[in-house]
């Protein structure tokens, strides 16, 4: 069967540009190249023509000066109708075309070169946005709680650190103060014996959680040395299951311990009933996810 594959278009690439085509230049692509939309370009200092960047070059094309906004086939001859996004614009990271075999460090450095020209490379969403939004059914917060994540908050007054599990104060409310931004998220290095983030939803893919359980344990002599549990969908905020953690800590890592912990976890929160699931189901299902964690830990040989 013949197939048509849709290539990226300008909308996929260009997320913002300045008015009156200020961001755009018309450029010449040197012969012998067939460049797709989104190619990161450099300019040859001697002939003034544009080439796909080449980190090994010394003729000027080792530096990024912009992004190609239309596909240009210059295989046979120079093409002078290329559109270059040269300044004051935002482009999507996923739509950029880089040389093959570019290292991660080189790419970051090229993105900085573009940023210096006002061409910002952006992801379509950020972790900080998800954290600040603070939905009780967002999935990254339980994960960060279980990982012992910390937020670095910054304002004109300075910086401060706050653990993710102490960040939320109520439904979509947090300790983030006016004028303060989430500067970074730090996660301590762990030597977990076993870690899982398990989400439950009506549909497997692309669905919001009914409940979410993230949990990491460290075992010593088959006893629980350390455990952290983050849950979603169980309270007005993402939450840490401190009671369940307390029951697990120090106990032998066994079915009996898990059964006891499941009973505690089922009772630890008072979730709401809504269109995604009833309160009763959420309580029983979060315990089911803890059982799943146990079963999956038993399937993994090194956890013992």
């Amino acid at each position: 069967m013949s197939a048509i594959t849709e290539q990226n278009n300008l909308g996929d690439l260009l997320k913002y540009e300045a008015p009156n085509r200020y961001s755009r230049d018309v450029a010449t692509i040197a012969a012998g190249q067939n460049l797709p939309l989104g190619t990161v370009l450099g300019r040859n200092a001697s002939d003034g023509k544009h080439y796909a960047i080449d980190p090994a070059a010394t003729d000027g094309t080792e530096s990024a000066i912009g992004v190609l906004a239309n596909a240009i086939d210059a295989t046979n001859a120079d093409r002078s109708d290329a559109i270059l996004i040269a300044r004051h614009a935002i482009v999507a990271k996923t739509a950029l075309v880089w040389p093959i075999a570019l290292t991660g460090a080189q790419r970051i450095s090229y993105e900085q070169q573009l940023a210096e020209r006002g061409v910002l490379v952006r992801e379509s969403a950020t972790l900080g946005g998800n954290l600040a939004n603070g939905s009780p059914i967002g999935d990254s917060m339980p994960l960060l709680i279980a990982l012992g994540g910390e937020l670095v908050l910054e304002s004109g007054k300075g910086m401060r650190r706050l653990s993710v599990d102490s960040f939320y104060t109520g439904y979509r409310q947090s300790r983030l103060e006016k004028g303060e931004v989430i500067r970074s998220v730090s996660i301590p290095l762990h030597a977990h014996s076993f870690f899982r983030a398990l989400k439950l939803s009506k549909r497997q893919d692309d669905d919001i959680s009914i409940a979410c359980l993230a949990i990491g344990i460290s075992l010593e002599n088959n006893h629980v040395k350390d455990v952290r549990i983050g849950v979603g969908g169980m309270a007005a905020t993402p939450a840490r299951a401190v009671q369940t953690e307390a029951v697990l800590k120090g106990k032998p890592w066994s079915q009996a311990t898990i059964n006891e912990a499941c009973g505690i976890l089922e009772a630890e929160f008072s979730p709401i009933s809504d269109m995604r699931g009833s309160a009763d189901y959420r309580k029983k299902a979060i315990a089911g996810l803890l059982q799943r964690f146990w079963l999956e830990s038993q399937e993994q040989a090194e956890v013992a």
Binding site: I4, R276, G288
Partner: protein, 776 residues
């Protein structure tokens, strides 16, 4: 008419006529049409209360809002204030009373859609709330109906059940389903000169949009032309309820004297338009130890919503399919058409048939578990017979029964017995997962139960360069109707497919066309187009015979040429013959008409032959449940489906795959949740989940049953739009089979079988494990 051997186009898996245009974005939908200068946009003002008296509408803030031109309410309707449906109980805009949350009270018209939408939220409503009926059994008790109850009986169910060795009495319900067409409801109304109108509408029934708009405008139908090139999906949601958006646009355009477009956003679409009818069942069945049903009493309480819409024929079709493929000697069906303060539920692929079949298939599973038999055995035991046991409960003889053969064939194909054993073994080994399997048949009646709808017209124009244009009363919603019609016309005239072009459905080309619904699109419209093409072919054959001095019977047209079997006579290019015909003043266009033969029935007693024939199929589904959470997935499905002699196997298989997955979504994932106030809480893709690609099983095998239709349909093909949806009942029954294997009690679960429902159904099994089931 049988398909002659030499045909080249029909039977081929040619690509959809718009496939490339749709993939590349060239295909235009209503909202893609370039707007005429001065076009305005309307957004709905919706009720926030399920039931109440509308006391006051304060529009001052909305009118002062940026870009707003007008607020339109019922007083601005020049013609009839109710939609001219058979039971005219749905006001175009709510009058003094609101009857569901989301009911449209009026429109805000503005220079942009965003301005209109913003301003619509600023309209202040004062509504005196009244008690709302949201429970169908409460509606039954209060006789709160949109239509009177209907009862169909044969034999004496009560006597048969009393005398039967075993009985089961139970109840359950099946939820509704949002159509979730990719293209939402949209219409664009353009006033023309001298009280004439052009309306672009995304509709399965342009003729009804024409009728409704004319009625609301106070005009005769001939002044309104409705056009639809294609819909981005219909699924029944645009059979009747595309009309509202068109009528609203026309009323607003009439008031403002400017073109107006109405395009509902997704949330509005969810809140305003009806869904598949939720059904609630109570049943009592008597049977013996072999699983044979002796008697069945069933009550269907149908949630129709606030107006009648198509609820009558939907509830009727559920009655007509309460047997599915089974002979029910003594049966008593009571159907209540409940009026509730919700969206007005409407046509949805299957049109009540799925809800009819769900009851009997669920009962088959119940009986199998009660008797300790394999459910396939019980299903087989109850099938219709060929010579006897072949009259339906509505008095129609089943003449074309093949469900028995299809089940037997599929049983071998999918290795049923070996997989049963493997599943039993798997369930013994696994503490966490449990698997189940079910094979269910489908027998679906083809024809509109409204007999007069079973007619169609078409227009075939041959231009003097030999190119051909076809137009017919059907509409394209992605299902491939236009492609099949082109194939048929190409074959009648013996030309390549590229010579045949289809154009937009248009009420000025074919009048009084029926909705494209009831799976009948090809049966009706391709047959009408075939008849039109035959007229032209006969004229061309006669001309060629005259030119070459040969007998007409010796002439054949194929591969863009005209031949005679008589020796020594030259063949001729189709284009040349057409030019000769034009020069000799032979008419090169023709209309064509078709009406379905043999059908008749009494609407009062629901007896007769409502269906020309039946479409058959069967599916075997295997599922796996995670007992810890109730999450479940389809592991594998094998389908054997009867489309008669396929006009286009690629399109037919696509319809089967799509129908099955859509049915699976209805029964497993797609949950409509209304709160206690009657507000629909799942009104967006964030909360209402249709199946995703990840829900399609790796093993998904569809085979076409290789036999022609026994009835004389176009090339002996069969309808395919709706029947495959009901193959998904096998997923539902496989889930119940798996749940049943976790304990010994009766399986109690409502549809859709969401993880939560499956989890608690298993929990019930666990709790009843120790105590003996009183019903067994």
């Amino acid at each position: 008419m049988d398909r002659p051997d030499f045909l080249t186009q029909t039977g081929k898996p040619v690509a959809h006529e718009s496939a490339i245009a749709q993939v590349t974005g060239e295909a235009r939908y209503i909202d893609d049409i370039e707007e005429v200068r001065g076009t305005l946009f309307a957004a709905p003002i919706m009720s926030s209360v399920a039931h109440g008296d509308l006391l006051e509408l304060d529009t001052s803030t909305a009118l002062a809002s940026e870009g707003v031109v007008a607020v339109i309410t019922a007083k601005d309707i020049p013609g009839g204030k109710f939609l001219p449906t058979p039971v005219p109980d749905e006001p175009i805009f709510a009058l003094n009373e609101v009857m569901h949350i989301g009911q449209v009270i009026g429109l805000v018209v503005a220079d942009t859609a965003i301005h209109a939408r913003h301003a619509a939220r600023k309209v202040k409503l004062r509504i005196a709330e009244k008690p709302a009926v949201l429970d169908v059994w409460q509606a039954v008790d209060q006789e709160h109906f949109v239509l009177p109850p209907v009862r169909v009986q044969r034999g004496s169910a009560a006597t048969a059940i009393a005398a039967a060795p075993r009985t089961i009495e139970s109840s359950f319900s099946v939820g509704g389903q949002e159509h979730f067409y990719l293209e939402g409801q949209v219409a664009y109304a353009l006033p023309q000169e001298q009280k004439q109108w052009l309306i672009y509408s995304s509709t399965q029934h342009p003729g009804e949009v024409q009728h409704w708009a004319a009625h609301a405008l106070g005009l005769d139908s001939h002044r309104v032309r409705v056009e639809c090139r294609r819909m981005g999906g219909g699924f029944g949601g645009k059979e009747s309820q595309a009309g509202q958006a068109a009528v609203w646009a026309a009323i607003a355009a009439n008031h403002c004297k400017r073109p107006v477009k109405v395009r509902l956003d997704r949330d509005e679409d969810f809140l305003i338009t009806g869904k598949r009818h939720p059904f609630h069942y109570r049943y009592r069945v008597g049977f013996d130890n072999t699983g044979l049903i002796h008697g069945l009493e069933i009550t269907m309480a149908v949630d129709c919503g606030f107006s009648t819409d198509l609820s009558g024929p939907v509830a009727d079709r559920a009655i007509f399919h309460a047997d599915n493929a089974y002979f029910l000697s003594d049966i008593d069906i009571q159907s209540y058409r409940c009026k509730t303060h919700r969206q007005s539920h409407t046509a949805f692929r299957g049109f009540g048939g799925p809800q009819g079949m769900m009851a009997i298939e669920t009962i088959m599973g119940d009986i199998a578990r009660a008797c300790g038999l394999d459910a396939l055995e019980v299903r087989r035991r109850n099938l219709y017979g060929r010579e006897s046991r072949n009259i339906t409960h509505f008095g129609m003889q089943v003449e074309d029964f093949v469900a028995d053969e299809i089940l037997a064939d599929l049983e071998k194909r999918c290795d049923y017995a070996a997989r049963r054993e493997a599943i039993a073994e798997f369930n013994k080994q696994s503490a966490r997962f449990v698997r189940g399997m079910a094979m269910t048949p489908v027998k679906f009646g083809i024809s509109f139960t409204a007999t007069h709808f079973n007619q169609a017209g078409a227009l075939v124009n041959v231009y003097n360069d030999g190119s051909i244009q076809v137009n017919h009363g059907g509409t394209e919603m992605g299902q491939g109707l236009h492609t099949k019609v082109c194939q048929v016309v190409a074959d009648v005239l013996g030309v390549s497919l590229s010579k045949v072009l289809i154009t937009a459905s248009d009420t000025s080309k074919v009048p009084n066309a029926s909705p494209t619904a009831a799976s009948s699109g090809t049966d009706l419209n391709a047959a009408a187009a075939q008849n039109a093409a035959i007229e032209i072919r006969d004229r061309l054959v006669a001309l060629y015979a005259q030119l070459q001095n040969v007998a007409e019977q010796s002439v054949r047209m194929e591969q863009d040429r005209v031949f005679t079997s008589e020796a020594g006579k030259p063949d001729m290019a189709f284009d040349d013959l057409v030019r000769q015909a034009y020069l000799r003043r032979v008419q090169l266009w023709s209309d064509g008409f078709y009406k379905t033969p043999k059908i008749h029935y009494d609407r009062k007693t629901l007896s007769g032959r409502p269906f020309y024939y039946f479409s058959y199929g069967a599916a075997c589904s295997e599922v796996e449940i995670d007992r810890l959470t109730g999450e479940n997935r389809l592991v594998a499905v094998d389908i054997l489906h009867d489309v008669g002699r396929s006009i286009n196997p690629a399109i037919d298989i696509g319809q089967i795959e799509g129908g099955f997955i859509q049915g699976m979504g209805w029964l497993t994932r797609e949950e409509l949740v209304w709160d206690s106030k009657g507000a629909l809480k799942t009104h967006a893709p964030s909360t209402y989940k249709i199946p995703a690609t990840g829900d399609v099983p790796e093993h998904f095998k569809v085979t076409l049953w290789p036999h022609p239709n026994k009835e004389d349909t176009v090339y002996r093909s069969k309808a395919v739009g709706e029947p495959p949806l009901m193959l998904a009942i096998s997923v539902w029954e496989a889930l119940r089979d798996a749940i049943g294997q976790t304990g010994s009690g009766a399986v109690q679960c409502d549809a859709p079988a969401t993880p939560e429902r499956v989890f608690f159904a298993i929990a019930n099994q666990q709790s009843s494990k120790s105590s003996a089931d009183p019903r067994a």
